[in-house]
Structure formats: C-alpha cells, structure tokens
C-alpha cells in the first residue's frame, strides 16, 4: 500500500519546513496545499493529513465525507491547549525533526521490525533434516524425494530456516551445519 502525506498549512515556512522533513522518508508521496479545499483524497493509498489547528473542522468534514475510508490526521497546534478528539494526533510546533519523522512513519505503519523481538529460534527436527540435505549439496527436488515431502514444502522449510537463523545461502547453511555438528566433515567432500 502506497502512502500519501498531505500537508495543509497557511504559513509558507511551516508548510515547506514540514514538507522538507517528510520528503526524506522513503516510499512516501507528499503533496502540500494552502487551503483545505485543495485537498484531494488518494484512493488506494494510505492518506495522512498534517494540518494547522484552524483546519480541524475541515479535517473532520473530509473524514465524514470519505465515510469509513481511513484518513489519518496529525494536527499542528501552536498553543499549549490540547485540542481535537483522540483519533487525531496533536503535535506542537516545536516538535523536533526526527520526532515528527518517526511519528509519521509510525502512523503510516512504516516502522521497521523492532530489535530484540522474541522468536523461537531453534530448528525443528524436520528443519534440521532439511539443513542436513542442503549441506550435502542436494537440490530442492532431491530433498523432497528423500524426505517424502513436496518441493513446495521444502521451500517453505527453507524460508523458515532462513528466518530463524538469518542465514540464506546454501554455502552459509553448510557452514552452519558443520559448526553445529549437524553433519561432520566426513559426510561431505569439503
């Protein structure tokens, strides 16, 4: 899903400043307008609108108009009073560049995988069998025949093995198998 960020603010310096920050986010389209009437909703894309607090009512209007269509909003608030309902994120004008970038990424769901995710990383017995075959230099077809499964299943196993170990290449998996003692040097002609 493509992401489109619309920036609507009457002040040139604020609007261009925000635009500049958002443009540095990869894979995001940016449009900017002075007034809300110029806003064009992008179908088939994720729409995020960053707008001045004076446009809050306009924002609610368009979310109503595009009934049920997801439009995310970030409201730029110059004062200290927090306004708006809970479905609009409010940021003050003195927000830092990185903070804004991260917020936009977060709203659009562009934040990468978090580090330190807990995953079950040990291989299953079947996956170990597959690694053993790969280390012996067998093709997917050969592995399927030996283990009596379809090649499709072999490919699925390989995907899961790579996800667990972080090792993709056949030669890398071979080294892994030797390091872990899944096969010994005598099992193969190194």
């Amino acid at each position: 899903m493509k992401c489109h960020v619309h920036i609507i603010h009457p002040s040139d310096i604020v609007r261009l400043g925000i635009e500049n920050i958002i443009r540095s986010i990869p894979l995001v389209q940016v449009s900017s307008y002075l007034y809300f009437k110029d806003f064009t909703y992008q179908p088939n894309e994720k729409n995020l609108v960053i707008f001045d607090k004076d446009y809050l009512d306009d924002f609610y209007d368009i979310t109503k108009r595009h009934n049920g269509k997801l439009i995310l909003g970030i409201c730029i608030n110059t004062g200290n009073k927090i306004i708006g309902k809970s479905d609009v994120k409010c940021v003050k004008l003195d927000i830092g560049e990185n903070e804004l970038r991260e917020l936009v990424k977060h709203e659009l769901g562009l934040t990468g995988k978090s580090i330190g995710k807990v995953e079950q990383n040990s291989l299953s017995a079947r996956e170990v069998d597959v690694v053993r075959c790969i280390a012996k230099g067998m093709s997917n077809k050969e592995i399927a025949d030996v283990l009596c499964i379809s090649t499709h299943t072999v490919i699925t196993h390989r995907k899961n093995i790579t996800a667990k170990l972080g090792i993709k290449s056949a030669s890398g998996l071979t080294v892994f198998a030797l390091l872990e003692g899944i096969i010994s040097g005598s099992d193969m002609s190194l």
């Binding site: 972080g166 993709k168 290449s169 890398g172 080294v175 390091l179």
Partner: protein, 226 residues
C-alpha cells in the same frame, strides 16, 4: 540535512568519516582550512553537481538526486565506480582478509577454517561480479556516450541485484555472531567484525550509487538513441 556547495569540506568529513575514501577517489586530500565544497571542486576541476550527488547518495539512504543533478557526463560516474572497485580490490578486501587470518589463527580449530573458507568463496564471487561490470557494463556505457547503440544490450541486463553477494556477507556476520563457539582472540574477532560491517555498509552505498545515479543516466541515453 544534505550537503550543498556551500558546505564546508571539513564539516562534511566531521559529519561522516566514511566519506574519506570517497573524497580520495576524487583526488581530494586533507588540509581544507575553511574552504567549501564549491571552492575545492573548482580548485581540483571536479564537477560540483556530480560530487554532491555522490556524497549525498552515499550518506543518505533516502536521498534521490533530482534529474537536474544528473546532467553530468556518464563517463564521470564510470570512472568513479572503477576507482571504487580499485579501492575494494587493493585495500578493503586484503585488509579484511588479514584480520580474518589473525582471527582464525587465534582459534586454531577446524571450525574456524570453515569461516575462512566461506569468506574466500565470497571474495571469489565478488571479484567475478566486479570483473563482469568492468568487462561488459562500463564499455557499454562508453559506447552509448559515443552514440553507438548496441541493441543486444539494455541497462536492465545489468541491473543485477547484488543480492547473492549481500546475502553471503550477512550470512558470514550471522555465522560468527550467532554460532561461533570456538576459542578465539576477542580483539581479533572484534576488529574483523567491525571491518566487515564497514565494508558491508560501503557496498550498500556503492550499489545505491549504481542504481540511483548510473542506471537513470544510462536509461536516458538508451531512450535517446533507440
């Protein structure tokens, strides 16, 4: 913040030390005083736009050189890429190899030898990749510059993803960090891993320069000539 012609060359270095070898490829050496990028490019006869496109692409993964910036002679970029290859062959790879040897010798186990063998296979593959670019891709670009259009080729033929090379280097990283349980010298291992990490980053930037600067320029030439 992207670098621009008024950026002080010294500040450019302070903001990203891994640009030092990039500057060397342009024949730029230290002792900048307070000269700007523009001053030094003028002095050295370097195309300023080209220089900025390279350093910005290099440090900022999200930087996209605007098409106006891509008006320079494609031979400049070919020349730059050749110098980069030279740097890898004569400096980066041998240096990492020396560190790896030190690490393997500190362990004295057969399993350490496996890591070393894996790296050497990677290097062989890497050299083949470089040779292919030097023997086929670069001459093709030079032909285009001289208005010779060879319809056997298209840049897309060469738009080879560097995946298999990237894969192997990240495999090596994973094998050592996650699965090495041998006896080895800590400092030798740290040195090796940091050097490998820097090399990996450098390669990514190098690939980005090929994809974001060389490919669009060549595509433009192709569409003009075909």
């Amino acid at each position: 913040m992207n670098f621009e012609s008024r950026t002080l060359m010294a500040d450019l270095v302070f903001s990203s030390y891994n640009l030092l070898p990039v500057l060397n490829r342009f024949g730029i050496r230290l002792g900048f005083r307070d000269q700007t990028v523009e001053d030094i490019c003028l002095q050295k006869g370097i195309n300023k736009d080209f220089f900025l496109a390279i350093v910005n692409t290099y440090v900022d993964p999200s930087y996209l050189p605007s098409s106006g910036l891509l008006e320079f002679n494609p031979l400049l970029i070919v020349d730059y890429l050749k110098r980069t290859h030279q740097y890898y062959i004569s400096y980066s790879i041998p240096r990492i190899e020396r560190m790896l040897d030190k690490l393997v010798n500190s362990g004295k186990s057969e399993k350490m030898q496996l890591i070393s063998k894996f790296y050497k296979e990677y290097v062989d593959e890497f050299f083949i990749h470089i040779k292919d670019e030097e023997d086929n891709l670069f001459p093709y670009v030079e032909q285009l510059v001289h208005n010779e259009y060879d319809n056997h080729y298209k840049i897309s033929t060469f738009e080879k993803v560097h995946t298999s090379l990237d894969e192997k280097i990240s495999d090596l990283r994973n094998l050592i960090v996650k699965f090495l349980q041998e006896d080895y010298d800590d400092n030798a291992c740290n040195e090796f891993l940091i050097a490998l990490h820097n090399f990996e980053d450098d390669l990514k930037d190098h690939a980005r320069i090929e994809d974001l600067i060389l490919v669009p320029i060549v595509k433009k030439m192709e569409s003009k000539l075909s």
